[in-house]
């Protein structure tokens, strides 16, 4: 049966709704319809990971006549089992916005004018060479993204670190998950979650730590609710600073004052120890105790530097440390009642209950981001609830390839595809695989993201290439960094698919291919690598970011290091990159396997994926002969850290009496540059707003939709009030989504960061709220 395009759209719409209904009510029947729907020969379907969030749903992209027209969930993907969220279903429309960038542009006499792509690439290469010769290797930099494909990030790292000899490689994932990395590295000595999404079907209790999963990881949230529907007694506890859609669906919603999650986590451990709920066999075999520096600062000044100093301690030292965190004392700091703290501790402490803790930006974007990860790991380690089906701490990631491209490829200043620049063995490995002299790879890290943009402002960096990200919307304390980027002798190249506030400050704009317009690989939150093929052509002269980098590398004289043809490049890059991860701790699947399957989890050893790391029954890297082996740390144990509660960098005071919290909404992806081009998503939430507590609104004399002015020490913003909308902040807090480039909340936020991870805290600064 042949369908015209319109009939096809109707079918796709119907199919999507049926998939959504099936996710809500597994087994629901719509009679004969599904059979009819599949019986169309007009559409070809191609597997890909979703372009948007770190859940990493597998999708099938339907194409007709060279155009992508629909998306459905891939039933072969174990992530989403055929389901998508509203962003996923509409994702192909993001390819076809009317203002898509199709030609390169170069700034001439202050104006951006169209030029052939080859001319723009020539200019990028010559400016890069000239800057490097005149100001030194560390005057050039690249800033990428957790939405870079794995080959994009790999080629960027090889070019900048291996060939150009600078560690000026960073990615926006620094802003979204670097605390997760340092949390893993300090507690386990190795990055990325031990568990997998299958935990959702096994856990009895879910605790979401500052994580609005209903909007940020909607398919996982649906999976969690489906698991609760199917099994008696399953509970969801939302532990957050404001009420959200996640709180509404939870069995219990517990609010804490911003930053005091540190104190509550310690109080939970206090209760576990005080009540004899410690899993002594597990702790005795697999855990050691440590402390680091305290009073560690907030990084608000240029050139801020911090190095932690680890010291081993005993269990008794740790017990004494916890004495400061009785539930009654912590109630006063956190606003969480001692009863609720004991309730949480009892859930974690009950050996009969399997508990999963989920978190994402609430714990990552935190001036003590590394510490709070350590403290939640402490809870799971004390109780031995880790690395088993349904028992585990689970750090979710925001972007589709923050794990795959940034954490695994190592596109951060200190990192390499295997290990760090400071480690001689890791440098030697990189030099050998890349075919460059080892002396090319500088052992000193340079700038983390915030410091990279400070260096651009100061003039220490003169040339910056930005790919697949929109820092002129996302950087905290944005005004400083925008004016820095606009200074006279700075040269900024931006590769993107639509005009954004970042292309506005560019000297060269390179039009990029988007998602299924190129071949690529992403890696999601559960160590799953997903490959996709190019299924439609990019528009005009748009070019994939990997190839833009290769074109520039060749112009700089590095053709031998990037010798591949365009057709074979992605396969060759993957197979070269995979050499970095050889061995049971991180082995990646071969290209052919990834091409054939809807995602493969690493470590992929002898044809088998690893579901639970550090568990000898599942993980081939365990070699100590025991049930668990935390092989990342030098003592073969997981580390419990005594980390105190310390206040936020900036807290409300008399002049600025409100907390400002920022984040996302389900309809929009990050800065909205894609989703605002999808009419349905844009119309659902066309502009940003400020959520106010109804009592605060009444005190200010503000009604729903009325204009409100937020003022911080850095800037101000006027936007409409939303009262009793989807989110409900407590009194004394406001919340603003950051997707709207015409209402830049980051002109108000503070560029304080976790001294260990260097990840900024977008969840806490102080503002004044006025009726505008």
């Amino acid at each position: 049966m042949k369908l015209d395009r319109r009939q096809f759209l109707v079918r796709a719409a119907t199919g999507s709704a049926i998939s959504a209904a099936t996710a809500l009510f597994p087994g629901i029947s719509f009679g004969e319809w599904p059979k009819i729907a599949e019986n169309s020969s007009v559409v070809s379907w191609h597997k890909a990971p979703c372009r948007f969030c770190g859940t990493g749903c597998g999708v099938l992209v339907g194409t007709v006549g060279g155009r992508a027209v629909a998306v459905k969930g891939d039933p072969n993907s174990s992530v989403n089992k055929g389901l998508c969220c509203m962003k996923g279903y509409h994702s192909v429309q993001a390819l076809y916005g009317a203002d898509r960038l199709t030609k390169a542009k170069v700034r001439k006499d202050g104006q951006l004018v169209e030029v052939p792509m080859a001319e723009a690439l020539d200019l990028v290469a010559s400016k890069l060479r000239e800057t490097r010769e005149k100001y030194g290797k560390d005057a050039v930099a690249i800033y990428g993204s957790g939405q870079w494909t794995i080959p994009d990030g790999y080629v960027a790292s090889k070019l900048f670190k291996g060939c150009l000899g600078t560690n000026n490689v960073e990615a926006n994932a620094r802003l979204c998950m670097s605390s997760a990395v340092t949390g893993f590295m300090t507690s386990f000595g190795i990055d990325e979650p031990m568990g997998c999404y299958e935990d959702i079907e096994h856990a009895d209790v879910f605790v979401t730590w500052g994580n609005n999963m209903a909007e940020m990881h909607p398919v996982l949230f649906s999976r969690m609710l489906a698991s609760r529907r199917r099994r008696a007694g399953v509970k969801v506890i939302d532990f957050a600073t404001r009420r959200t859609r996640t709180s509404q669906a939870a069995d219990r919603s517990i609010l804490f004052r911003p930053q005091t999650d540190l104190a509550v986590a310690n109080a939970i451990c206090h209760e576990i120890v005080a009540n004899g709920w410690v899993n002594e066999a597990f702790v005795g075999e697999h855990v050691s105790f440590h402390r680091g520096k305290t009073g560690i600062g907030y990084g608000t000044e240029d050139h801020f530097a911090f190095t932690d100093e680890e010291q081993g301690i005993t269990f008794d030292d740790y017990r004494r440390f916890l004495a400061d965190y009785t539930p009654e004392k912590v109630e006063k700091i956190s606003g969480v009642s001692a009863k609720d703290i004991k309730y949480l501790a009892a859930l974690y402490g009950d050996p009969a209950l399997k508990v999963v803790s989920f978190w994402c930006m609430g714990m990552n974007q935190h001036t003590r981001g590394t510490w709070i990860q350590n403290l939640v790991y402490n809870i799971h380690l004390l109780t031995g609830k880790i690395s088993q089906a349904g028992n585990g701490p689970f750090s979710l990631t925001g972007q589709p390839s923050a794990c795959g491209t940034v954490r695994e490829v190592g596109t951060l200043t200190h990192a390499l595809p295997h290990g760090t620049v400071g480690n001689e063995h890791d440098r030697q490995m990189a030099a050998e695989i890349w075919g460059v002299p080892v002396a090319n790879i500088d052992p000193r890290p340079t700038y983390h993201t915030v410091e990279m943009f400070r260096a651009l402002d100061r003039g220490d960096i003169k040339f910056l290439w930005i790919q697949v990200t929109n820092p002129m919307v996302t950087l905290p304390n944005l005004r400083r960094y925008r004016s820095g980027a606009l200074k006279e002798d700075r040269f900024v190249v931006v590769s993107d698919v639509y005009p954004t506030p970042t292309t506005d400050i560019a000297d060269v704009i390179l039009p990029s291919a988007l998602w299924v317009e190129k071949e690529g690989l992403f890696g999601n939150s559960e160590r799953r690598t997903q490959h996709w093929q190019r299924v439609v052509e990019p528009p005009g002269e748009a070019m994939c970011d990997t190839w833009q980098l290769i074109e520039v590398a060749r112009r700089l004289g590095f053709a031998e290091r990037f010798p591949w043809s365009r057709e074979e490049a992605i396969e060759k890059i993957w197979e070269e990159y995979r050499r970095f991860h050889a061995g049971p701790k991180h082995e990646m699947a071969p290209y052919e396997t990834l091409r054939a399957r809807s995602g493969v989890q690493w470590p992929f050893v002898e044809g088998k994926e690893t579901r639970w790391r550090f568990n000898a029954a599942h993980d081939p890297a365990c070699s100590n002969g025991k049930a668990f082996h935390f092989y990342g740390q030098r003592d073969g144990r997981a580390w419990i850290w005594a980390r105190p509660y310390e206040p936020a960098a900036e807290s409300p005071d008399r002049d600025y009496p409100f907390w400002l919290n920022t984040g996302r909404v389900i309809e929009h992806w990050h800065t909205g540059s894609l989703t605002r081009r999808v009419p349905v998503l844009h119309n659902a939430v066309p502009a940003s707003y400020v959520e106010l507590n109804p009592e605060d609104a009444a005190a200010l004399g503000v009604v729903n939709g009325e204009k409100v002015r937020l003022v911080s020490r850095r800037g101000e913003l006027v936007l409409p009030a939303q009262i009793n909308g989807r989110g409900l902040p407590p009194r004394g807090m406001v919340f603003v989504p950051f997707f709207d480039e015409s209402l830049l909340v980051n002109e108000v936020t503070l560029d304080a960061f976790c001294p260990i991870s260097k990840q900024p805290d977008y969840k806490k600064c102080a503002v004044r709220v006025e009726k505008a």
Binding site: R6, A12, A13, A17, A20, S29, G31, Y96, P679, V680
Partner: protein, 80 residues
């Protein structure tokens, strides 16, 4: 020329009346689940006026408890 699909939940005991009421709305097709109180509603309108009229019609249905948008396409401009 928008195409949308929704999940429609009737008020308790109103499933049949909701099916009848939706069937009377122009540019609107329904697919009731055979074993749950839930309907898939697919709308396919020729222009913005018809879409606006249909939206008004949907909002006025007393039998409808909630309507959740799942999919939407409004034929964005073709790329040249």
């Amino acid at each position: 020329m928008p195409v949308f699909s929704y999940l429609a939940f009737p008020h308790p005991g109103c499933r049949e009346r909701l099916c009848d009421a939706l069937a009377l709305l122009p540019h609107c097709a329904i697919l009731p689940a055979t074993d749950h109180d839930l309907l898939v509603v697919v709308t396919d309108t020729p222009d913005d006026n018809a879409e606006a009229a249909l939206q008004r019609g949907l909002k006025a249905l007393p039998e409808l408890q909630s309507l959740s948008l799942v999919f939407g396409s409004d034929e964005p401009q073709e790329r040249t």
